[in-house]
């Protein structure tokens, strides 16, 4: 599949990723000095939902984040594997046809803290996200989409076990 990947995007990636990697590495090294303070974020409710990330169960996290409950909807398409190839890197993506989506969040029910990631979707951004999450063990992955004030969700179980024969 990646055999023909010697095309332009590959080189571009190197350049693009290069800048990020170097900056990333720089930041990674520079952390100890801790330069820079938390900049005020202009984005809509850009405040980091500290409380929600502390909640254990997905229900509490949803309540802490949105203050309301969600109803399942087949308009929320959650794409997650049957058996995760590895609990540390589980590719999960969500897309939806619901109108004016303002926020999308991912929950992994059995993780130490259920809320994994929460995204703010300003107008003009396509309501579809792919990311890679960590999963402690086999459990439900829940994607919540906030569309015109109402919450819609999709849930899928992803199996996670360790690999290998064990030394």
């Amino acid at each position: 599949m990646n055999l023909d990947r010697t095309s332009a995007t590959r080189r571009l990636v190197l350049k693009g990723a290069g800048s990020v990697a170097l900056i990333g590495a720089g930041v990674y090294l520079g952390f100890e000095t801790g330069f820079g303070i938390l900049p005020a974020l202009a984005a809509a409710n850009g405040k980091y939902p500290e409380e929600a990330f502390k909640q254990k169960s997905d229900a509490d996290a949803i309540k802490a984040l949105y203050g309301k409950t969600a109803e399942a909807s087949d308009k929320v398409k959650l794409d997650a594997p049957e058996i995760a190839e590895n609990g540390a890197v589980v590719p999960i993506a969500v897309a939806t046809t619901l109108p004016d989506v303002t926020s999308i969040s991912f929950f992994v029910s059995e993780n130490p803290n259920a809320l994994a990631a929460s995204y703010v979707i300003p107008a003009g951004t396509v309501p579809a996200i792919a990311n890679r999450l960590k999963m402690a063990k086999t459990c439900n992955v829940i994607a919540i989409v906030e569309s015109s004030g109402k919450l819609f969700s999709a849930t899928k179980e992803v199996k996670v076990t360790v690999g290998g024969c064990g030394g």
């Binding site: 995007t9 571009l12 990636v13 693009g16 990723a17 800048s19 990020v20 990697a21 900056i23 990333g24 590495a25 720089g26 930041v27 990674y28 520079g30 952390f31 801790g34 330069f35 820079g36 303070i37 938390l38 900049p39 974020l41 202009a42 984005a43 809509a44 850009g46 980091y48 939902p49 990330f53 540390a88 890197v89 589980v90 993506a93 992994v108 993780n111 130490p112 803290n113 809320l115 994994a116 990631a117 929460s118 995204y119 703010v120 979707i121 300003p122 003009g124 951004t125 396509v126 579809a128 996200i129 792919a130 990311n131 890679r132 999450l133 960590k134 999963m135």
Partner: protein
């Protein structure tokens, strides 16, 4: 980071080199590796935030995210900045191809 515009929509893929330590893992000597992960990631185009990510400890090492947005064209700048749980921050800019 890779940003490619096709028509009116720009698809953005970002891969950031970062350990994303959860603070729940012990190292070889049995000491807890302190939590150290990116909490907030902001993408701005012409000063307007087009995407904001709030990340917890469940985001994989070397985090990756893909999204797309409308209203940008080739050659524009896309600024990505992130803040971690220690308050350290950094940013970088890439051209939309």
């Amino acid at each position: 980071m890779r940003a490619t515009a096709t028509g009116d929509t720009t698809e953005v893929q970002a891969l950031i080199q970062h350990p994303m330590d959860t603070g729940l893992v012990k190292d070889a000597q049995g000491q807890i590796i302190p939590a150290h992960f990116i909490q907030q990631l902001t993408f701005e185009h012409n000063g307007k935030t087009v995407f904001l990510a709030n990340w917890g400890t469940a985001v994989s090492k070397d985090p990756y995210v893909k999204f797309s947005f409308k209203g940008a064209n080739k050659g524009d700048d896309l600024r990505i900045s992130w803040v971690d749980n220690k308050g350290a921050t950094d940013n970088t800019t890439a051209k939309i191809q």
